[in-house]
């Protein structure tokens, strides 16, 4: 593995935060589209488990988004979507596509709607528009060579933010089906997807949804959680002693931040997990923005005059991780030398 400089490590962390933010944008885009087009289908949720209907070693799959769409015959079919924020190399794409095979099984756990649940599903892989061309190329090669085979309809939905007079003056989130065919199942949705669905994510209506959606059910990168907690929650929640317990903090964030992206398929809200907060708080202790006064009580260090919080957090975490890696490598080398010597 080539050695990574600190600035590269910081830059990767910043990208990871941005990608999580973009994933929220795409999930909200799909939610927004199906709310406006109820006759086509429904947005069931993000990061909800689907179970294997038949016995399997693996018990469930967790797509990034689940859609259920109406077929021409009035029945429902499922669309589990795996979102890919960035993919670089062919070998990585091949691996990803092979992993998509896990959806090529009979699945249960769909949302019941008016007494109906999907009796079958298609599989959707959703890469960013910057990567969709190479994903399509690799998929076609793999299908042609017989290295990969799907028993269900497999689609590629690319997504990207674009500026075009065609869609008005602002930027839109464009979701487009570039591989696969839903014709015969749902002609109208198929047509819209192949033409490209432009979502006006800069409209005030969409913006209001975005403001509330800080998380999906997917665990955010720890740096994202730390930045959000430090800027918006921690210092606003502590008493004069600057102390706060993990339980108080978890209660507080769940009291204020809820979004439809966090609902499960019964419409019940999912909560921001205590584990996510604990991990962020433990990292605050490691980078000395907090002190752990007991196992679950933290003392916030208020006298830090940090201008760029996201950069500070990413840099400090990257430094600590690098140090930890050096220590681990050194210990490993020492152990190997010892073993060889003995």
């Amino acid at each position: 593995m080539p050695k990574m400089s600190l600035s590269e490590a910081v830059s990767i962390k910043a990208k990871e935060m941005d990608r999580y933010h973009q994933q929220i944008l795409l999930c909200l885009g799909l939610l927004f589209f199906f709310e406006k087009n109820k006759s086509l289908g429904m947005f069931v949720g993000a990061e909800i488990d689907l179970k294997y209907a038949l016995n399997s070693v693996q018990k469930c799959v967790r797509p990034d988004v689940i859609i259920q769409a109406w077929k021409k015959d009035g029945k429902l079919f499922g669309i589990p979507i795996e979102i890919k924020l960035s993919v670089d190399y062919d070998i990585e794409i091949k691996k990803e596509l092979n992993e998509m095979k896990r959806y090529d099984n009979q699945l249960s756990g769909w949302k019941e709607f008016e007494g109906l649940t999907p009796d079958d599903h298609v599989i959707v892989y959703a890469p960013n528009g910057l990567d969709s061309g190479k994903v399509k190329r690799v998929l076609e090669q793999e299908l042609k060579s017989g290295n990969i085979k799907f028993n269900r309809e497999f689609c590629i939905w690319e997504w990207q933010t674009v500026t075009s007079q065609k869609y008005g003056k602002g930027d839109v989130l464009l979701i487009k089906q570039i591989f696969g065919d839903l014709h015969g199942m749902c002609d109208s949705l198929n047509k819209q997807l192949t033409d490209g669905i432009p979502i006006d994510y800069e409209s005030e209506e969409f913006a209001k949804k975005r403001e509330g959606a800080v998380f999906t059910r997917k665990k955010p990168p720890k740096e994202y959680m730390m930045v959000w907690l430090w800027t918006n929650v921690l210092q606003q929640s502590v008493d004069s002693s600057s102390n706060i317990t993990l339980d108080e903090l978890t209660k507080k964030v769940n009291q204020f931040y809820k979004s439809e992206l966090m609902n499960n398929n019964d419409g019940q809200s999912f909560f921001i997990k205590k584990d996510w907060i604990r991990e962020a708080m433990d990292w605050f202790c490691k980078i000395k923005l907090c002190k752990e006064s007991s196992e679950t009580c933290y003392n916030i260090v208020m006298n830090k005059k940090i201008r760029n919080i996201s950069k500070f957090i990413c840099t400090q975490v990257a430094k600590k991780e690098k140090l930890r890696k050096i220590n681990t490598d050194t210990n490993q080398m020492a152990l190997e030398t010892f073993t060889q010597g003995s």
């Binding site: 910043a14 935060m17 941005d18 933010h21 973009q22 933010t161 500026t163 003056k169 602002g170 930027d171 800069e202 409209s203 005030e204 913006a207 209001k208 975005r210 403001e211 509330g212 994202y224 930045v227 959000w228 430090w230 800027t231 918006n232 929650v233 210092q235 606003q236 929640s237 507080k252 009291q255 204020f256 931040y257 005059k305 940090i306 201008r307 760029n308 919080i309 996201s310 950069k311």
Partner: protein, 353 residues
């Protein structure tokens, strides 16, 4: 409105007056409370302020006389020393600050002193150039006087420094409307005006700025108070717009939208200028989640009162500001005024429904 007794007291103590207005988002300002707080005094001393105050009750108005010294940051500079008055009238959510020292003392000693003393509950009343025009027109209508502009300075968009581009000879004053037309033609906001208000029997000279500072001779105190009142009411309505916007449990978030009336963000350089302007905002820290292609999404925290809000550009002509768990009207007002002055003036500031 200031009591008659208070006017007499001020008139007898002042010569040429420099003034500004502060307002409180909730209820009536309690200056006694601020001046008595030991932690505030200690904090102000740590910032280089030394002061002594006296209080005088004049009917419905209370006047605080404050002697202030502000130590310079560099030893080679002279400290700023002077006296100023704070006039608080019962029932008003705003109060007036007046001094007969120079404008430098007002801007660099008095205003920071009061800001740090009363923040986050109290903020300065500032105006957009459009509001400035409305204030002057309203003032001239009340006085039944004509408005003539002797001099004016404009400020360029996107943080350019003030320029005296609209410059006029004293003996050849022009109308307010023509100054505004010229400003538009030159891509400038009217920032400061030196005016002559000419009535049937008398006239008044007054200098007024977007940043809320006003200068006038002591003889015009009575008329200037009308001007103060008009500005105070604008500050009051802005506070009503910006207060109680924090997230509440089980309620939808409330956002503030700044509309620019032009698609300024169609050029990426303006997005980057916005980002740069926000990065330079005083007493704050920020986090960037997405920076500029094709939009900006960031969090900003006011480090004085810990207010925080997210900021994003919306379409190509607006900015959306969404308060989080804690967000005072003063913090929002301070930030919006800053963007108006150092980035670009919004033509409309409203709640996003």
């Amino acid at each position: 409105m200031l009591s008659t007794e208070a006017r007499l007291v001020l008139a007898s103590n002042l010569k040429k007056v420099q003034a500004t207005i502060f307002s409180q988002s909730d209820g009536q300002p309690d200056l006694d409370q601020y001046l008595a707080k030991e932690d505030k005094k200690k904090y102000l001393r740590s910032l280089g302020f030394n002061f002594g105050s006296a209080k005088q009750i004049c009917g419905t108005t209370t006047i605080y006389t404050i002697n202030l010294t502000k130590k310079p940051k560099q030893k080679s500079f002279e400290p700023k020393r002077g006296r100023f008055f704070i006039a608080v009238t019962e029932g008003d959510s705003f109060f007036y600050v007046l001094t007969d020292s120079n404008l430098v003392f007002l801007k660099h000693a008095v205003i920071p002193f009061i800001t740090y003393l009363t923040y986050p509950n109290i903020t300065r009343a500032t105006l957009t150039s459009l509001e400035l025009q409305n204030v002057i027109q309203n003032f001239s209508a009340t006085l039944n006087a004509g408005v003539f502009v002797n001099k004016s300075s404009g400020k360029g968009m996107f943080g350019k420094k003030p320029q005296t581009i609209i410059k006029f000879e004293k003996n050849n004053p022009v109308s307010l409307n023509s100054v505004y037309k010229q400003a538009v033609n030159q891509d400038l906001w009217v920032h400061w005006l030196s005016l002559l208000m000419r009535g049937k029997n008398d006239s008044m000279k007054v200098n007024i700025s977007r940043d809320g500072t006003i200068s006038f001779p002591k003889e015009s105190l009575g008329k200037a108070l009308i001007l103060f009142e008009i500005i105070g009411k604008i500050a009051e309505s802005q506070n009503v717009l910006l207060k109680d916007k924090e997230i509440k449990p089980e309620q939808e978030m409330k956002s503030i939208i700044l509309r620019y009336g032009e698609e300024i963000f169609s050029e990426k350089k303006h997005l980057l200028q916005l980002l740069d302007t926000i990065k330079k905002y005083k007493d704050s820290s920020y986090s960037i989640i997405h920076s500029g292609n094709p939009h900006i999404y960031m969090y900003l925290q006011d480090t004085v009162d810990k207010s925080s809000f997210s900021i994003r550009n919306l379409r190509q002509d607006s900015i959306l500001i969404t308060p989080q768990i804690r967000c005072g009207a003063s913090a929002l007002s301070r930030f919006i005024s800053y963007l108006n002055e150092d980035f670009r003036e919004a033509i409309e500031t409203n709640v996003c429904d």
